[in-house]
Symmetry: C2
């Protein structure tokens, strides 16, 4: 008992039993309390410390549970036979300090032509919050686990939507909802096993990276004017083609029906061939209705349809989905039956009601008009610049970005650097050449979804100044 | 022009240009419009159909974009040289009907001792909804992409919480937030590459399944009274041990400090060895504060700490997280830099404020009290049953489930079946023997987190009736 030099602090938030627990573990770790040493009885320790017996009981119970002490019936409490030297030196415990980034402060840009941003001004906050609230109060069962493929109500609604607006033919049971295409692609790579995958080049670096992380063999296929070349695809011996036919990323090509048919024919030539159709921004076609999906003209179950709400609602709403052909569904069910859905059921059900009650269609229509005005304005401003022979607009027939080729002799890097000087963040096409060998060095990718219409004229004028007025090229 | 037998429907919601578009694609697909056939001029078709030229222009533009038509300057519009036979037979398009399950209606249970349910009555709806609303209105930037590891504010708050309540030592930069442990384990398996993994047996079937899906070599390690045996672990030649030391799932063992130290010693013997500590329900210890984490006594960066809010908040809130040792963080950053976080930023930020403002601590305290009363009641009811020599309670010192061994001669299957007859859903321990070779055949796993306290006495009496009164065993 003389060993117990502990002074309890009655004025802190730390409960007394915990102070006692801490004290005894420290004494054991430091070797002051030796293996097999007997501890005071609960009553005598309580008297010694001037606390209730319950306090000592609580501390002793914890120590027994965790193996620091053993209780011997009718005898008392003993230190477990532990080697004090076996305890790692107690780490230097620091309370974490708020993260401070080591990176220099980012340049402050006035205009950012990032393809990955949406204009958050127009998010339907009121509706979304109202639905969220209703859901939370009305359906407590949503707090428990849901269907691994995603809640049935949302899949039913999605199947209807996809049929009506994208021409996709599927049953709700073919739909799998997941938190982003990264996650869904991981499932696809698993299901398709040892296939080798053909990716568009230039293309979507992220999906290529995901394939690499999944140890999937990848062939990069050059594009021609119609998208992925079937000749080159065949020559690559790939069995799965990952394509963005509605609006090739980043080239903006709408794959013509002829090429679509050729690709379906290619897929039909062998049982193990499939096409992954990534329909990432297909809601945004500005002349006429969205381009019907490739999935909808396939009747041999060869197309895995993949899409997301990142562009149509917001990137931070992590809801993507895929439509699996029936014959792949069995493998999915066999191997992913045990997985929980990666999407919060609150958000799944919010999205379900958002679509069901027509809010989604209205939101898309509204955003389509807003984005159309921006695109039209951007093109109009570009078309009235003086050096028309040195400016070429590419891939502007759908989607939320277009390409701008600048033939003033500047390299891509100098185009970007000069834009940066006037506060404009641009992205070079070379980034999208997945193999790092860009064949084009004078083209920038302009995402216009987060540039306000009133800023467009100013931004274009600034670009014109740095590219055509202030530079020395011919 | 005589070919154009289209009758436009002016009384539908389908826009006229779209009806025209549909008509022409169908004519091309069916071969009625032949390759290279010239189409009527915009003006004459508009006159013929009695519509404005804009309608025809919109339809022709769509058809050109999609490659059905080509426009030849100063000549007109022609059908593309497509082979009508190349079109797949048009699929039989059916509007999806609501999914109806083929499974027979599930038995209606009165009481479900599932370990995977939480009591949703006590979810802090009001606070959660209020925070959600505040967030949506106050920070529109949350709609755009966030940090791939999870938002910094949440990681800062988690690091503090983990230090204070779980004894975990980490910087916010070591934390990775993800939508469920399935997703995070996928990352761990990738980072640890060709390691072979030791799993507890009996153990968590789901994590084993995830390992299989990731093609990871797995060794199943038998448990002794203290958890995973280090001797058997060493013999297995595994390099990574996946354990649940705070409350072994399903056996309920609290790993004693001696075994913890042995495991850390084992991990330190080779550079490629690591321990994955899954702390899935550690908030719920009922005598004293939660058992400190293994991560906190490791000072060689050998422990990957993994946990989730499934038990502490709700299974449908898909927020889990892991703490990576610094030396693994580089690989993570190299390979997952391009991935978006799988968790909605709304929910990340809601959780952040929920923890920051003390709601989480209060919620945990409240739930701990509720679950403690249920556990105490369950044990008390079991302890007054007449056949005490035939009942053994195991693993009741922490967490949200306990094991009940019934030594009345009945097999597990008959224990479950007889419970089912009186409306009680029980789960057999044999399910958790991952290799399918259970060594125990008379034990059920009782999750008590979703059984109301007033139901416990009734449920226990019902079980006593079917197990001890109505059966013929000794």
């Amino acid at each position: 008992m003389t060993n117990f030099t502990l002074i309890l602090d009655f004025n802190t938030n730390i409960p007394l039993y915990e102070q006692l627990y801490q004290y005894i573990t420290t004494e054991i770790k430091s070797g002051n309390l030796r293996p097999n040493e007997k501890l005071p009885s609960k009553r005598s320790l309580a008297n010694h410390l001037g606390v209730s017996q319950n306090t000592v009981i609580a501390a002793y119970d914890m120590l027994i549970d965790e193996g620091y002490l053993v209780s011997k019936e009718r005898s008392g409490f003993y230190v477990s036979p532990l080697d004090a030297n076996a305890f790692p030196a107690i780490p230097d415990i620091k309370l974490p300090t708020p993260t401070t980034s080591n990176n220099p402060l980012p340049t402050k840009y006035k205009y950012d032509f990032n393809t990955n941003l949406v204009d958050t001004t127009f998010f339907p906050y009121k509706t979304w919050t109202k639905i969220t609230k209703d859901i939370m109060y009305n359906d407590p069962t949503l707090l428990n686990h849901g269907d691994p493929q995603g809640d049935e109500c949302l899949r039913d609604e999605l199947a209807k939507y996809l049929h009506e607006f994208r021409g996709v033919n599927c049953k709700p049971s073919q739909i799998i909802i997941g938190a982003g295409i990264e996650y869904l692609l991981g499932i696809i790579f698993h299901i398709l096993g040892k296939s080798s995958f053909a990716f568009e080049n230039p293309g979507y670096y992220k999906t290529y990276k995901i394939a690499q992380n999944n140890n999937v063999p990848v062939n990069l296929i050059e594009l021609d004017d119609e998208g992925m070349s079937v000749t080159k695809l065949s020559a690559s011996k790939s069995s799965v083609a990952y394509i963005t036919p509605s609006h090739q990323f980043p080239m903006g090509i709408i794959m013509p029906i002829k090429r679509r048919l050729e690709l379906l024919k290619w897929a039909n030539e062998s049982l193990d061939r499939f096409i992954i159709e990534d329909d990432y921004d297909s809601e945004f076609r500005f002349n006429g209705r969205p381009i019907p999906s490739l999935q909808g003209i396939d009747n041999h179950n060869k197309v895995i349809y993949l899409s997301t709400f990142s562009k149509s609602i917001a990137p931070s709403i992590r809801i993507a989905y895929m439509v699996l052909p029936e014959q792949l569904l069995d493998i999915y069910k066999r191997d992913f039956h045990y997985y929980s859905s990666t999407v919060s059921r609150f958000e799944q059900n919010c999205l379900y009601q958002f679509i069901r009650d027509g809010h989604f269609s209205r939101h898309i229509n509204r955003m389509r008009n807003i984005y159309r005005s921006r695109k039209d304005k951007l093109i109009a401003e570009l078309k009235v610049l003086p050096n028309q022979d040195k400016i070429e607009i590419v891939g502007e027939n759908a989607g939320l970005h277009l390409l701008l080729k600048i033939k003033n002799g500047m390299t891509e890097l100098s185009l970007l650097e000069s834009a940066k000087k006037v506060g404009i963040k641009l992205y070079g096409l070379s980034n999208y050449f997945i193999d790092g060998n860009p064949t084009i060095d004078n083209t920038v990718v302009l995402g216009f979804s987060n540039i306000e219409i009133d800023d467009i004229a100013v931004a274009v004028k600034l670009l014109n100044n740095v590219w055509f007025t202030n530079n020395t090229s011919k």
